[in-house]
Symmetry: C2
Subunit: 186 residues, 2 copies
């Protein structure tokens, strides 16, 4: 395994645009595989997003909101899409304040990850919020959610019960546990 190993790169032969929406777009690429055969790849484009581990009195700020793709509500850390050209750390401050009211002095990057690299290019940036001060939430027009805060044991329980069940929030709880045990995020 060498660095930047693209010996298995797939060459795009054709791109068919399927859909261009408010949040995502979809294309189907016909590609040439390393063995010379062709295949199709279904690719969702997404602007990227941010999410925030914010601890207040040793509790994690979470929001409960309805997730239409799942047909139910979920408890998640504050998160949102990047606006065009927006710095991830600024987006994280904006989303935290909009959804929870808390203002944040600085955002420390924990990690950035592609949520579903098999079919989507969504890159999610996870931050740790420092220097928090309370304030007034200010939700988007079509955003409905409740903010609360969970102890570590509650967060663990919520994961066990399936009330927390999304990648970013579970990654944040894992990062929090590592932070509790080591004082660092990995």
């Amino acid at each position: 395994m060498t660095n930047a190993n693209d010996k298995y790169a797939e060459v795009t032969l054709e791109t068919e645009k399927i859909f261009d929406g408010k949040v995502i777009s979809l294309q189907v690429d016909r590609v040439r595989l390393p063995n010379g055969e062709t295949a199709t790849r279904e690719i969702v484009r997404h602007p990227g997003a941010v999410c925030v581990l914010a601890l207040v009195d040793d509790k994690m700020l979470v929001v409960e909101q309805y997730r239409k793709p799942l047909g139910r509500s979920q408890v998640e850390i504050p998160a949102g899409k990047l606006d065009p050209g927006e710095e991830p750390s600024e987006a994280a401050k904006r989303e935290l304040e909009e959804e929870t009211g808390y203002r944040c002095g600085s955002m420390r990057p924990i990690s950035s990850f592609y949520t579903s690299p098999g079919f989507a290019d969504e890159l999610l940036h996870l931050f740790f919020a420092e220097q928090l001060t309370p304030g007034q939430a200010n939700l988007d027009e079509d955003e409905f959610l409740d903010c609360t805060a969970l102890t570590f044991e509650q967060a663990k329980q919520y994961i066990a019960e399936g009330r927390i069940s999304d990648a970013k929030t579970i990654a944040a709880v894992y990062a929090w546990q590592i932070y509790r045990l080591t004082g660092d995020f990995l």
Copy 2:
């Protein structure tokens, strides 16, 4: 916050099917919001997938493969889509053996998470492989990848360098660190 709080449930008024592919499908739902307004929701349907934290001599098995949505290769833990009707633990055993050659006596669930609940219903099951025995990999026809194994320090380094940058592998490394520190996965 009450359990199964769906007071913000969105009622589906109309569903438009946009695309039905090999891996994903796409629909746009028009919904009624809690305030009576309407909005659209872009929803990707996915069959679900599995991924495996497998430790051999205290090293994590990983595969490097080209990811067309990202336009580059990535190092990830073994993973793959669920076949219709397949048990996640069976799929995890199958994918581990196909991609790495290792057979696994039992698959212990670590966690299951929705990768992108804002726009997709993909549910990913993360397992810990126990009782591993080496064997011969057996890749799908259109699958090209290299298998290797990383120490914890190497995995950490790969994350810092961006060679590991997907949610499932970062979650697996976090889980591994918690396991190293506590003997359990959370």
